[in-house]
Amino acid sequence: MISVEAVSKQFSGEPVLRRLSFSIPDGQITALLGANGAGKTTCLRIITGLVKADAGSVYVNNLHVSTHPLEARRQLGVVGDREGLYERLTVAEYLSFFASAQGLSGSELTWALNSVRDELELESLWHRRTKGFSQGERMKVSLARALVHRPKHLILDEPTRGLDVLAARLLRKTLLRLRSEGVAILFSSHIMAEVSELSDKVLVMANGVVVANGTPEELLQRTECKNLEDSFVALAYGRKAEREAVV
């Protein structure tokens, strides 16, 4: 479980997060929604330890990310908004490096690499350098990197962006499998169809606070909208924006 407790953050005097609090339970997929500038990326970076919170605490599996950064990071798998591949390494070398960085070695390492290769259908790419990979292939390698050490928590920043149909399907399939294995999954997205199909829970952020937190059905109920998109617009931009969008 990831819990964010009263986290505040300012950038050059501008408050980006204001006493933000939520938790991501195990075995569930949580979607993080928010307009651009709502503080989503900052929030995710605080959870992964790239950015320090000005106030408040973040716990990953009860580990405080500031006081136990290395331990907390071992609990996390992260897929960023860019893949962060090394073009001069092969997929095998790339994944082997991150698995070792996570502390795997020996037969444990081999097993982790083999299983992630099979799960994400990477055989044909395995010994190729990642230069010139398609968007879908890049996403697969990036996801494999996030999963190779079997983290209990997975964070994805707009994972389906630019993916073809097959890759998107594989991603969805994988997320659903991980959920069944008890992994806590947090992903940000703009695609409402995907959110409504995948997520058990939806968090909507606006102006650095969570404005809504619940199952998609609860959100629809609360906003009295027919679909999640309208509901999101209503929550994130307010009623006025929603009406304008309808007109």
Partner: protein
């Protein structure tokens, strides 16, 4: 020992391996490093050949006008490194324009005047604007001087005068230079070029591994891993310096290979770099390679973008060498103990000494290298702090 243990953990090894793979597979960086390492001995060889041409033994073309009547002079002038052409009446100026290094003209009635002790004239024409002309003239004077000395001796003997009377004392020139010190001038540029190789050798890869990785966003992923920031910097420094160290060793090795083929001994110059000296140079280059690598990485990390890093580092390439050059020129006594602790200056001094085959104080080399290594450690810690700065990653 916590630190040492962490130095050798599996994640640390994986980091180093990853950085090494990245750096050594970068064709452009490798090409640049190797090209410089190969170019460098070529440059030195060319320099030495040029020096030899202007210094070493050369056959001078000398024209002798009116020499057919004084065969003894003619014979004397053709001794040694001369190609002597005996010509009848001709214009000295046009002969000098025509590839002659010097023209000797014998005055009319020379032999008669000589026999009658009237000190006849020998005219020596030179072209002062021609570098070889002056040296040709010196050689002519030396050859004529030998004959002159013989004649003076005979004239003194004929009068019953001991030749020693002409030499109230003898001046014995004692050159205290050793073949190694004579060669210092030629070897003094080599340390500079070796240090330059360290800079250029890791230029491309230090930008790629820092500013490049940031731009490709893979740095963010790296920072999310459960490794310490200093470990990340250390991995990069080791990988980046490995390529420049390799380049400098390659340059040194190719120099060692080229040297025996250069006609150094003819110039009275000793090529005495011992294997021990070369190994010491190679070892002493390592701390410097690490220091230069970490400095270049830090600077590249600080810059706004990849392009900006390229501009800043290009300037940095020339800065230290210019500085060393100025120090060299300014005649500051660099042999003092304090300078032995200043990175760059210290290494330059050691290499100069080692290249000519002299030995240096091991204690100072170790002390100086430790100073460099301490700076490396400081820079790595500084780099680690820089990596943790939020602004490093750019927009939120």
């Amino acid at each position: 020992m916590n630190f040492t243990r962490r130095m050798f953990t599996a994640p640390m090894r994986a980091l180093i391996r990853k950085e090494l793979l990245e750096v050594w597979r970068d064709r452009r960086a490798l090409g640049l490093a190797l090209a410089f390492a190969i170019l460098f001995p070529g440059l030195i060889a060319a320099m030495i050949m040029f020096a030899l041409k202007s210094q070493g033994e050369k056959t001078f073309r000398v024209a002798l006008i009116g020499g057919e009547n004084v065969p003894v002079l003619e014979q004397q002038l053709s001794k040694g490194s001369f190609q002597l052409d005996s010509l009848s009446e001709s214009d000295p100026a046009s002969l000098l324009n025509n590839n002659y290094d010097a023209v000797v003209k014998i005055a009319d009635g020379f032999a008669d005047d000589y026999r009658n002790f009237r000190s006849p004239k020998v005219y020596l024409y030179v072209d002062g604007s021609n570098r070889f002309s002056g040296r040709g003239a010196t050689h002519v004077q030396k050859n004529l001087g030998e004959l002159q000395q013989l004649i003076v001796q005979q004239r003194l003997v004929a009068r019953g005068v001991a030749v020693q009377l002409m030499a109230p004392w003898q001046v014995q020139v004692r050159d205290v230079s050793t073949p190694s010190s004579r060669s210092t001038w030629i070897f003094s540029s080599i340390p500079m070029l070796l240090i330059m190789t360290l800079f250029v050798g890791c230029l491309s890869s230090s930008i790629d591994t820092s500013a490049g990785e940031r731009e490709r966003m893979s740095l963010e992923v790296l920072l999310q891993q459960p490794v310490e920031a200093w470990q990340i910097v250390l991995g990069k420094v080791i990988a980046v310096s490995s390529i420049s160290w390799f380049a400098s060793i390659l340059a040194l090795t190719s120099l060692m290979v080229v040297f025996p083929f250069l006609p150094l001994a003819e110039m009275g110059i000793k090529h005495a770099t011992t294997v021990w000296g070369a190994v010491t140079i190679a070892l002493a280059l390592l701390p410097l390679a690490l220091l230069i690598a970490v400095l270049q990485i830090l600077l590249a990390l600080r810059s706004q973008s990849f392009k900006d890093a390229q501009t800043q580092l290009s300037i940095l390439q020339f800065l230290p060498v210019t500085l060393l050059f100025i120090l060299d020129m300014s005649a500051i006594e660099l042999k003092g103990p304090l300078w032995q602790l200043v990175p760059l200056v210290a290494q330059q001094q050691w290499f100069k000494v080692l290249l000519v085959g002299d030995s240096i104080s091991v204690a100072w080399v170790i002390a100086g290298s430790l100073v460099s290594l301490l700076l490396v450690v400081g820079c790595i810690l500084g780099g680690a702090r820089a990596l943790q700065r939020e602004s490093l990653l750019g927009a939120t």
